[in-house]
């Protein structure tokens, strides 16, 4: 009996040892799989971030390491009218986010409701998403130039031609409209995916109760889409702040004046045109902080929705 107990106990220890050893091996293998991703993030994201922050505290140019100037570049940004203008433009861009979210949502609901030619519209709406911003910018530069086809259309209707991209009042709204056109297809897809999760019986029940179409939308579909609306709002906001460079570069070059200059365009200008990498780094850090706050909001919203 004693011998048997001892043997069982020994076996248990061996099993536990083997299990611990196997867990350790498993952990090592897992680490090995994670390593490439961790290294990529570390080498291409984290280290450049700290490196960039270090440069932002100096007066470095492309040909000299410069001197440590502390917060000099950040103070300069506060006093730079072009930076202030770019932040104001970023504010206008953020104000347009509801339009960027609402249009794809409404179109997705229409498609989901079974409008004729649904498959056709789905592909057509997605088409601009596959075009690069440079191609889109070039197309609209030609179409919206003073002697372009859009003004020719206006003239044929007896309306005056407008320098859409050369006037301060119209350049940013037009640029945002083009950005919206070029990206709304992706929003439609996201909302279509979200709509597939809306319970059909709820919609049917509302209809049987005599609810009109707008009442079904307002009281049933849109509340059910709330997590998707929040998700779309956050990714659209971050996208608008960090991915409009190509379009602006081709369409307006940031002008007229600074009417379409957003922070990311100003960063490129400081580095590429003015040979001021330290100032560009400081502006990048400011943009990073802005997008980090939005990312934090995103995480907060997502975790709240996870508990719904």
């Amino acid at each position: 009996m004693t011998a048997k107990t001892t043997s069982q106990s020994t076996q248990g220890v061996v099993t536990r040892f083997r299990s611990r050893k196997s867990r350790r091996t498993e952990a090592r293998v897992a680490l090995l799989f994670l390593l490439p991703a961790v290294l990529l993030v570390l080498v291409f994201r984290i280290i450049p971030l700290f490196w960039g922050f270090g440069i932002s505290l100096t007066s470095a140019t492309s040909t000299s390491a410069g001197e440590f100037i502390g917060a000099g570049n950040y103070l300069r940004a506060l006093d730079d009218p072009n930076f202030r203008s770019s932040i104001a433009n970023a504010g206008v861009v953020l104000l347009s986010v509801p339009i960027f979210v609402t249009i794809p949502m409404l179109l997705a609901i229409l498609i989901d409701q079974g409008v004729p030619g649904r498959a056709f519209f789905r592909s057509v709406y997605f088409f601009p998403v596959v075009l690069s911003s440079v191609i889109i910018g070039s197309i609209f530069s030609v179409a919206l130039s003073f002697n372009g086809s859009f003004n020719a259309l206006l003239k044929s209707l007896g309306l005056p031609a407008v320098d859409w991209l050369g006037r301060s009042a119209t350049a940013l709204p037009v640029t945002l409209t083009i950005q919206s056109w070029s990206t709304f297809g992706m929003g439609v897809l996201i909302f279509l995916a979200g709509l597939s999760t809306v319970p059909k019986d709820m919609v049917e029940a509302a209809r049987l109760e005599g609810a009109k179409m707008w009442q079904v939308w307002w009281h049933v579909i849109i509340p059910e889409l709330r997590p998707i609306i929040e998700f779309s709002t956050v990714i659209t906001t971050i996208g608008l702040l960090t991915s409009m460079f190509g379009l602006i570069y081709v369409l307006t070059g940031g002008g007229p004046g600074t009417a379409t200059t957003v922070p990311e365009y100003l960063i490129w200008s400081a580095q590429g045109r003015l040979n001021q990498p330290a100032y560009a780094a400081a502006l990048s850090i400011i943009l990073f902080v802005m997008t980090s706050i939005l990312a934090w909001l995103q995480i907060r919203i997502m975790s709240r929705n996870a508990n719904l």
Binding site: S141, S145, R167, P256, G257, Q271
Partner: protein
């Protein structure tokens, strides 16, 4: 004993091995340009003949991102041995990463013109200019006839320019092309208007940052920018019109009577003569609204400086070879290929241009001999030019005043050219 023999054999082998072949790399934005191909081929052949075993390699770089890529490469000490650059603000931004060439190539430098665009504030030359860049007005002779002007008598004074533009306006045609989407038209305008209205001393003061944007001579240029626009000299939509190359293509197609063009590389006599016909293109130096005390009324100057040039990276492991590559790129025999094929005006005075049969170029070469004046915008800093791009667009739209624009430009000038 055996080991000793082996060591001796190894030493003998090493001694007999020729030095390792070296490669000199050149970054340039024109490498894929067909009109430059013969020039590069001749430069490569001459270099490799002079240095058997070594190679000269031209690496094509994208024009739009060139200075961003170059700046990053120089900062990380991975730049090319030989660096191409435009004269003026961009070249002067790079001098910290280059070696001065004054002591390396004194004989060549003595034969060059257009050096100031590549001379740093320390007075040293960091690039060897290969081409000259300047600003003249090209005009469409057929349109001159259509509006009732004599195509063989281009304007020589501001009063004649005004009269000419009135004639174009009467026929509802644009007098001058305007393409200021990137702000480059405003740069050209600054130099074209300053060519007669600034004294030599004022040009020197401008370079040193002692003459300000709000000082009367410069503010007058800003005012002329606004006044000529209000007078209807330009086609509408100038702030959304691209200069390179849409503006020049439109001019060739009869979009306006005149265009502020260049001497070398693009938008110059050879391009227009090819597109519009030799007999249909005229050229004249731009008169300014006022004539400074040391300038000549009726004989406007031509803003002239180095166009593009080559410098040597101070971190190059083969500086002497790189210097020799620059010498070859700027040598008369090699440069002659570029002059013949693409119509650039050479910076090396030993290049023979007598074989080029162009009435336009003959006139230009005559003016260069005795009417050259500084290129005001090339003597401005990159930051000032960037701000001038913005302000010029706002001025065209009527979104700011001349006083406010000059004050904004003064602020930038004070940051980049502080006065003690």
């Amino acid at each position: 004993m055996h080991k000793l023999k082996m060591a001796a054999a190894l030493a003998a082998m090493l001694a007999a091995t020729p030095a390792l072949a070296k490669e000199i790399t050149v970054w340039d934005v024109n490498v894929d340009e067909p009109s430059h191909a013969t020039y590069y081929d001749h430069a490569k052949a001459a270099f490799e003949k002079a240095h058997p075993g070594d190679t000269l390699t031209f690496l094509s770089q994208p024009d739009a991102e060139y200075y961003t890529l170059l700046g990053t490469a120089l900062a990380s000490k991975t730049g090319p041995d030989v660096i191409w650059a435009n004269g003026g603000a961009q070249a002067k931004n790079l001098v910290g990463g280059l070696i001065p060439l004054d002591d390396k190539l004194p004989d060549l430098i003595a034969k060059l013109v257009g050096k100031s665009a590549f001379t740093a504030p320390d007075g040293k030359l960091y690039f060897i200019p290969t081409t000259l860049q300047g600003h003249v007005v090209y005009y469409n002779k057929k349109l001159f006839k259509d509006v009732g002007l004599d195509p063989n008598k281009p304007p020589t004074t501001w009063a004649e320019v005004t009269k000419m533009c009135d004639a174009f306006k009467a026929k509802k045609l644009a007098c001058f092309m305007m393409a200021n989407k990137e702000g480059y038209e405003a740069e050209f305008f600054l130099s074209e208007m300053a060519n007669q209205s600034l004294t030599s001393q004022q040009q020197a003061d401008w370079l040193a940052g002692k003459l300000h944007w709000s000082d009367a001579p410069i503010k007058a240029i800003l005012q002329t920018w606004v006044d000529t626009s209000k007078a209807g000299w330009y086609q509408e939509g100038g702030n959304s019109q691209t200069m390179f190359m849409d503006e020049f293509t439109l001019f060739s197609q009869g979009g306006a009577g005149n265009v502020w063009g260049l001497l070398s590389n693009v938008a110059h006599w050879k391009v227009f003569e090819k597109d519009m016909g030799v007999d249909n293109v005229g050229v004249y130096p731009m008169p300014s609204p006022t004539v400074a005390a040391d300038q000549h009324a009726g004989a406007p100057g031509v803003p002239l400086d180095g166009g593009v040039g080559y410098g040597v990276n101070k971190d190059s492991p083969n500086i002497d070879l790189a210097v020799d590559a620059v010498k070859i790129l700027a040598s008369p025999d090699v440069l002659a290929n570029l002059v013949n094929d693409s119509g650039v005006v050479p910076a090396n005075t030993l290049v023979d241009t007598s074989g080029i049969d162009s009435p336009g170029l003959k006139q230009i070469m005559g003016w260069l001999a005795n009417r050259a004046v500084p290129t005001t915008h090339a003597n401005s800093s990159a930051a000032e030019l960037d701000e001038w791009h913005h302000q010029s667009q706002l001025l065209l739209n009527g979104d700011t005043t001349v006083d406010a624009a000059a004050a904004a430009l003064d602020k930038v000038q004070a940051q980049v050219k502080p006065q003690k």
